[in-house]
């Protein structure tokens, strides 16, 4: 029992990331009809927003502290981050420590700007081109984006810690009244899951209860008609794309403490997210979320030692296997509508 709960919990954080990326992908596909291979790169950009803010906050002045000496007896050089000078050591220190959550605020305008630039500058010219062309051009863009990041940040992963308060693990088992120590779960993963749930919930509320959301949903159901109604679709497309970019970016920001960001993390997540979208059903928002969590959890179950002993290697391929089977027996995915891109 506890083993099962543990696997479910383990699957949640990866599942959250899959769900968030897949949500944006399917939103873009459903409304704009564009297959965006650069979506993983947006996730990666988000993670690097966290890295950037962390580094910015750590910008330091170097002063000599005559009262202290280093081990050679020379006066000690002390690095003081500017923020500590400006806001005092307490607030400044806290800002550095909390750089990842702070990066959420920082990344929203950045990701929106990136999203708008991408849509206006590139994607909009591809609405009427075949899907293969869309895949290709966004694939090229993904390469470009990741190479730019590589140029500025190097090829190595950059550790970006979570705030101290969330470092470490807690005893989930004891919390729910099971044997103490049976389920140990890191705090940050729980935060990540909660964050993802918040964004997904917020997204759905937005789409459900705002006029904008209504138009978007109508657009996903029947693109031509909405265009015919004289609604300014162009502007909404841009906003949609920016929002999707933002969701992917936020997913990346919060993922930075779980996996140190590196420039090719986007490509790694992209393939899986596409699989998630396809399993959930192209253009289905609930499908993307459900499939994201489902596959995340399935993946962690498959890596249990009992399962791996039974079926060696299954943990490596489970997601792909599920995707292949779903595509063959139910091409529209779990919750997809009939006829989306079938043929």
């Amino acid at each position: 029992m506890d083993a099962i709960i543990l696997q479910v919990l383990n699957g949640l954080d990866k599942g959250s990331a899959y769900a968030l990326i897949a949500l944006g992908l399917t939103l873009i596909f459903g409304t704009l009809g564009v297959v965006n291979f650069a979506h993983g790169a947006l996730f990666m950009l988000g993670a690097f927003c966290a890295v950037t803010l962390n580094e910015l906050l750590r910008f330091s002045t170097e002063t000599v502290d005559p009262s202290r000496t280093d081990f050679l007896g020379n006066p000690l050089k002390v690095k003081t981050p500017y923020v500590e000078n400006w806001f005092g050591p307490d607030i400044g220190g806290a800002m550095i420590e909390w750089s990842v959550p702070l990066a959420i605020i920082f990344s929203i305008p950045v990701m929106i700007a990136v999203g708008i630039a991408m849509e206006r500058g590139l994607i909009k010219f591809f609405y009427k081109r075949p899907h293969a062309d869309q895949i290709l051009v966004t694939f090229g863009l993904a390469i470009v984006l990741q190479e730019i990041i590589k140029y500025f940040f190097g090829a190595n992963p950059i550790p970006t810690p979570a705030p101290d308060a969330f470092i470490g693990s807690f005893d989930f088992g004891a919390l729910v009244g099971m044997q103490a120590g049976s389920i140990i779960y890191p705090y940050w993963r729980l935060v990540y899951f909660a964050f993802a749930a918040l964004i997904i919930g917020g997204g759905f509320l937005f789409l459900q209860y705002t006029t904008f959301g209504m138009v978007v949903r109508a657009g996903m159901a029947d693109r031509e008609t909405v265009g015919l109604l004289g609604i300014n679709i162009d502007k909404r497309f841009t906003i949609m794309f920016a929002l999707a970019a933002c969701v992917a970016g936020l997913a990346g920001v919060m993922y930075a403490p779980i996996n140190s960001p590196n420039y090719h993390m986007g490509m790694d997540f992209l393939v899986l997210s596409f699989v998630v979208v396809v399993v959930g059903g192209m253009g289905s928002l609930p499908g993307a979320v459900a499939a994201g969590f489902l596959l995340g959890i399935l993946e962690s179950f498959a890596s249990m030692s009992q399962v791996v002993n039974l079926l060696p290697g299954i943990n490596q391929i489970i997601i792909y296997l599920v995707a292949i089977i779903i595509l063959l027996i139910r091409p529209r995915g779990l919750l997809g509508r009939k006829g989306v891109m079938e043929g």
Binding site: L122, A132, V144, V271, A323, I324
Partner: protein, 403 residues
């Protein structure tokens, strides 16, 4: 000649000439000159040009003709490589059986993957092939270690049986790959004036196979079968109501291109008997997509050009560092020199992927027919009034543009 029309014969003759003279053409700079680092005429690189050329020609038979975009072709190359190394471990260091077995295994594997993946089309097909390739990659990395030797990669060893050969040579080393006794690394160097040309046996074996592969692809493109494949891309609905079954046609194209990939994989191990799982990763599949599109999808020569350009970038362009740039721009005033170098630097050397990404995007946006279309447009400029017939063939051979 050879059952080809005039134009194709000319094209084929040019390709023959270039591949045979490549060791000279690719070494235009004297050894002592500063520009010698841009010489690409060394065996290792020339072999790669040719091998990836074969890979891309095969990919183009699928993508260029039928329009099915596979993101999993590297898996077939990988399977071919593993099969080839196993032949060398078990049977003989002669490359011929290794290459034949590579092609067969890749063909069988692509038959399986194609049979399943082709039940869907469009993006679903792309994702299915992607999933298969990633699965093969993961398995080769983990569970299949007894066959693939996992992370280390499959290598030859002194204890291999090699039934028709020797486990080890008299001096206790692993025997070399050969073609009926001609070692693949053999060759001779020709020094003329300041120039040095290397003629390598391995390269010429690859080149000969490339020419055969290219010839076969021309025949396929010009055959009724090739027309049917174009019909698959154009309108499957019409095919069905015209009494044609599109699925076996597409599957045949898929398997043929899988066999080309296997051939490339086999040649890789024939040149360097080593096979690793990373050859199967989806980014490796992405590379052949880049090559084909950059060169010109659906054109005969495009894939060869594309693979040449990318491999040249990867191996030569990537060596340009900031010292070299400073040398180049030394004629500028100091401040300007630094500025120009700072601007150019991110795009060259280790940043060559960035340039590649940008060029690729530009090609997809503005030049869907790739380098070939670019060449035709330039030729058209010089001819004042582009002959209608030429436009027509361009459109017919690169229909992705027309959609």
């Amino acid at each position: 000649m050879l059952g080809l029309n005039k134009r194709d014969t000319l094209l084929f003759a040019i390709v023959i000439a270039i591949t045979l003279l490549a060791p000279i053409i690719l070494n235009p700079f004297p050894v002592a000159s500063d520009l010698a680092q841009f010489n690409a005429g060394y065996p290792d690189l020339m072999q790669r040009f040719v091998i990836f050329g074969i890979f891309a020609i095969g990919f183009n038979i699928l993508f260029g003709l039928t329009g099915y975009l596979s993101f999993g072709h590297a898996a077939f190359l990988g399977v071919g490589s593993y099969a080839g190394v196993w032949m060398m471990k078990l049977l003989t260091m002669n490359v011929v059986p290794a290459i034949i077995v590579s092609v067969i295994f890749a063909g069988l594997f692509s038959l399986l993957v194609g049979f399943i993946s082709l039940r869907r089309s469009g993006i679903y097909f792309s994702i299915l092939t992607l999933a298969f390739a990633q699965m093969s990659f993961s398995l080769a990395y983990s569970v299949l270690t007894p066959i693939t030797n996992g992370e280390t990669g499959l290598q030859l060893s002194l204890n291999d049986p090699r039934i028709l050969g020797v486990s080890q040579t008299a001096d206790g080393s692993i025997p070399m790959t050969n073609f009926f006794g001609i070692a693949m690394r053999d060759g001779f160097e020709l020094s003329m004036g300041g120039w040095l040309f290397t003629f390598n046996a391995g390269y010429y074996l690859c080149a000969a196979i490339l020419l055969i592969a290219f010839y076969v692809s021309i025949r396929i493109f010009r055959s009724p079968f090739g027309v049917m494949l174009k019909a698959v891309k154009s309108n499957q609905q019409r095919m069905l109501y015209t009494g044609l079954n599109p699925r076996p046609y597409t599957l045949a194209a898929f398997v043929i291109s899988g066999m080309y990939a296997g051939l490339a994989g086999g040649l890789m191990v024939a040149m360097d008997p080593l096979a690793g799982a990373e050859r199967m990763q989806w980014t490796a599949s992405g590379e052949v997509v880049l090559m084909t599109i950059l060169g010109g999808t659906g054109t005969l020569i495009g894939p060869i050009l594309g693979s040449g350009v990318i491999k040249y970038f990867e191996n030569i362009f990537s060596k340009i560092n900031d010292n070299i740039l400073h040398d180049w721009f030394a004629f500028l005033p100091d401040g300007l020199e630094d500025f120009v170098v700072a601007i150019v630097y991110p795009f060259v050397g280790k940043g060559w992927h960035l340039t590649l990404g940008i060029v690729f995007m530009l090609v997809v946006i503005f030049l869907p027919g790739g380098i070939v279309e670019g060449g035709q447009r330039i030729a058209g400029l010089f001819k004042r009034k582009p002959p209608e017939d030429k436009n027509k063939t361009a459109a017919a051979s690169a229909p992705s543009a027309a959609e």
